[in-house]
């Protein structure tokens, strides 16, 4: 009953000393081969057609990419939409996000934005307005625009970096926040640098690109 094949048992076989890490990289004592997750912004130009957002979001969920925000909107070209994605992954994961995105047929180009890219999000914050003067003073501090007011409430629109919005929300909280609605992040490269252009041969950001891009500070 106990049958099998002949040959030296496992303990009698030579075993290589080397190892790979979880990302399949050989562990070389000289080179640190583990990557810590980092947060970054990926921009994708896609065909503006039904289903493309579900293709992208489905890809992220089924591949277990750690996604923080995903926004989509039209561009200067009515046949094209731009999807901006904030992910937190180790470098090989970010690389996979880009490659897998690029595989989707309606996706035209994909790139990781430089740390200095412009990043913005928008929040609507509805606060109790028992003390209109103080509320207004806080709003001024954050360049928040009043979009609605009633005897009991005031609603402000705040645009800016995530840190700015979070700071504003924290400051407003002293008055009592009734509701918050936030968009995800949208972003664009600076100057003549193309965000994720129609250049169809666009290659992923190269190795050098990620090495200096540690936790990038949100700009303003």
């Amino acid at each position: 009953m106990k049958r099998g094949l002949e040959g030296p048992a496992p303990e009698e076989r030579p075993t290589p000393a080397g190892r790979r890490n979880k990302q399949g990289i050989r562990i070389d004592p000289e080179v640190e081969a583990t990557h810590e997750p980092r947060r970054t912004v990926i921009s994708a130009l896609v065909a503006h057609e039904p289903g493309v957002l579900s293709d992208v979001s489905g890809l992220f969920s089924r591949r277990q990419f750690n996604i923080e925000s995903l926004t989509v909107g039209p561009t200067e070209d009515e046949d094209r939409a731009r999807i901006t994605i904030v992910v937190e992954e180790p470098d090989p994961g970010i690389d996979q996000v880009e490659k897998q995105l690029r595989k989707l047929v309606p996706v035209i180009s994909v790139r990781e934005l430089e740390p200095d890219a412009m990043r913005r999000e928008l929040a609507l914050v509805k606060v109790d307005a028992a003390d209109p003067a103080s509320v207004s003073a806080v709003a001024d501090m954050y360049d928040a625009t009043a979009v609605d007011s009633s005897p009991e409430t005031a609603t402000f629109e705040i645009t800016g970096s995530r840190q700015k919005i979070e700071a504003a929300v924290e400051t407003f909280s002293q008055f009592g926040i009734r509701e918050i609605s936030r968009t995800g992040l949208t972003a664009m490269a600076r100057g003549t640098d193309q965000t994720a252009g129609a250049d169809l041969t666009a290659q992923p950001a190269d190795e050098a690109n990620y090495s200096d891009a540690t936790q990038p500070a949100d700009d303003d």
Binding site: R3, R20, Q96
Partner: protein
């Protein structure tokens, strides 16, 4: 269910009509030919409906066979197929249609086509589509859909088919326009085989296929946003070539992509010229002749001991057309830990997905191997390594014992089948122990002769795959399905199709009255508690085959093996051999899930 049956009944009536008209077809064909001779230009009538445009797209793409099942929402397409030269093979279940089309794609290299109606028809295709997706097989699925004005209302037999199949298709399309639907199909056909192959799907609402149009479909062409890189970066090729020249323990690892990319010949020449030992993955079986001295056969969970030793100890791994699946690599930490990896793949997303590639070579396998061949001037000095590999071949030989008085050993049956057939014979399998024996003990020498379900591991794949393979194969190629009892039971209604079409296939059911692979794992990891894996209630498959109209055989001991196999192969039509094998036989070597390839077990005690 009864509702569906009611819906299907008219279609069955129609099928009778089909057969009646079928007998008249030769006349129609002759008439057609005469017409063609008379006016060689006017061979086809202009399309008038979306469905005709769909069929025209298939004809333009050179489709010969389509596998499917009739139904409510796909009826307009079938009506258009009725006048076409495309031969429709009615399957007994849509899953079989997808597997048959998948196997047709593997053997022929052209996308196989399957059709199903909306709702249950489409969902029955899902397993087959997912199987094709995992194995990168070219497949085009056409599904009926309820009329666009019903879509989203939970109409009868409605399923969000594009939604359901998004994660398991290379691309899918909801056709919304009768003028475009033919072009949608052309494009899906082209996408299925361009670059890294995979399944595509077009969902066809009934009003779109019924709708009037005079638009001929565009030629099969992939969309502008789809790009395939043919040639690898010459700088990385040069660096990789340098690495190969300086290797002292090189191996080539050939995956399914080598066969799909028609790179088998180029890989063979490269390996032989530079005397590099060759390992295949399971989908790569047939990429390199297993009777060649350099061949170490298959690596991975049930790969040979020598392949697993070589892959574990190599210093340079040339992986071509492989995605480094976990059944191949075992635990990542211990996979080829000393090796610098040269990875050739047409899909950039496979590079460094599981195993970090030190030399990423994105491009068509054949082109890149030729680039490498041009760049490598000197063969690696690996004489000692080759000798070591040969030593491992004898240390861990795949020999088994087959005492006369013991029950029939499955390995013996596989070897007997191999011996009785030619090198060109095509083997299809289900999934389980029998699949591993068929992979281990059959000596494959030609690409596209191994047709199996790898990534998804779909039990029930073997018989419908044999049907598709038979229709794609040359007439003189034998088609043998090595199946297991549990696997065969899942799709054996396909026998009715094989009988109706009089397909010359031989099914050998390695019957141990167990879901054998599960039983093996239960013995190893669940203290022998055979929860739901004991199948001692199996039917007699030889008699069952006869009930279907096929030829049935039974093997109980060694004396029957050779003669029965010969008889079954000689039978001109489908035959089934119910082979009662040793119920306790297990598959070795074995690397436990996530284990170290070099620590494969040769016996149960070593697990």
């Amino acid at each position: 269910m009864s509702e569906r049956a009611a819906k299907v009944t008219p279609a069955e009536d129609e099928q009778d009509d089909d057969q009646i008209t079928d007998s008249a077809t030769p006349d129609a064909a002759t008439a057609d030919t005469t017409a063609t001779d008379a006016a060689s230009e006017e061979t086809t009538d202009p399309v008038t409906t979306g469905a005709e445009s769909v069929v025209r797209a298939l004809e333009n793409a050179g489709v010969e066979y389509a596998f499917g099942v009739q139904g409510g929402a796909i009826m307009p397409v079938y009506d258009a197929l009725y006048d076409s030269d495309i031969r429709h093979v009615t399957m007994a279940h849509e899953q079989g249609a997808a597997h048959a089309a998948d196997a047709y794609g593997i053997v022929s290299g052209e996308p196989g086509v399957c059709l199903a109606t909306s709702g249950p028809g489409a969902t029955n295709l899902v397993t087959g589509i997912a199987d094709a997706d995992m194995d990168s097989d070219p497949l085009l699925a056409l599904t009926g859909q309820v009329s666009t004005d019903f879509v989203g209302n939970d109409a009868f037999q409605e399923t969000d088919t594009t939604g359901v199949t998004t994660p398991i298709t290379k691309d899918n399309t909801f056709a919304s326009d009768s003028d475009r639907v033919g072009s949608d199909v052309s494009e899906a056909f082209a996408l299925a085989s361009e670059g890294r192959p995979g399944p595509t799907l077009v969902d066809l609402p009934k009003d779109v296929t019924n709708g009037e149009t005079d638009r001929e479909p565009d030629e099969p062409k992939t969309p502008d946003t789809y790009h395939v890189q043919e040639q690898a970066d010459p700088e990385i090729v040069a660096a990789a070539a340098d690495r190969i020249e300086n290797a002292s323990r090189p191996v080539m690892l050939l995956g399914g992509g080598v066969i799909k990319g028609e790179a088998s010949e180029a890989c063979r020449e490269f390996a032989v010229e530079h005397e590099i030992p060759v390992i295949t993955t399971m989908p790569g079986i047939g990429a390199f002749p297993e009777d060649h001295e350099l061949s170490l056969e298959m690596a991975g969970m049930h790969g040979t001991g020598y392949a697993n030793m070589a892959i574990t100890h190599c210093d340079t791994l040339i992986g071509i057309g492989t995605r480094f699946d976990d059944r191949l690599t075992g635990g990542i930490e211990t996979f080829a830990p000393d090796a610098e990896v040269i990875h050739v793949d047409i899909d950039p997303a496979e590079i460094s997905k599981n195993i970090h590639a030190d030399y990423p070579l994105v491009g068509d396998a054949e082109t890149v191997v030729e680039q490498l061949a041009d760049a490598v001037d000197e063969s690696p000095a690996a004489k000692k390594w080759r000798a070591q590999c040969q030593q491992w071949k004898s240390d861990y030989s795949m020999a088994y014992e087959a005492p006369e008085d013991a029950p029939v050993q499955p390995e013996f049956v596989v070897e007997a089948l191999d011996e009785a057939t030619s090198d060109q014979a095509i083997v299809t399998t289900g999934v389980g122990q029998h699949q591993m024996w068929a992979a281990q003990y059959w000596t494959y020498t030609e690409p596209r002769t191994w047709v199996s379900s790898h990534g998804l591991g779909t039990m029930g794949y073997g018989l419908p795959a044999a049907i598709g393979a038979r229709l794609a194969a040359d007439d003189d190629q034998e088609v043998v399905c090595v199946d297991g009892d549990g696997s065969f039971l899942m799709t054996l209604q396909g026998l009715s199709v094989a009988v109706r079409e009089n397909l010359d296939i031989t099914v050998a059911v390695l019957n141990n009255e167990y879901i054998g692979m599960v039983r093996q794992w239960q013995d190893a990891f669940f203290e022998g508690r055979h929860a739901a894996s004991d199948y001692n209630w199996m039917p007699e498959f030889d008699k069952l085959a006869e009930a279907f109209g096929a030829c049935g055989f039974r093997i109980d001991d060694y004396d029957d093996v050779a003669d029965t196999i010969e008889e079954a192969l000689a039978y001109d039509g489908p035959s089934v051999i119910d082979v009662h094998i040793d119920p306790d036989a297990n598959v070795y070597p074995m690397v436990p899930s996530g284990g170290d390839n070099g620590q494969f077990a040769l016996t149960e005690d070593q697990l």
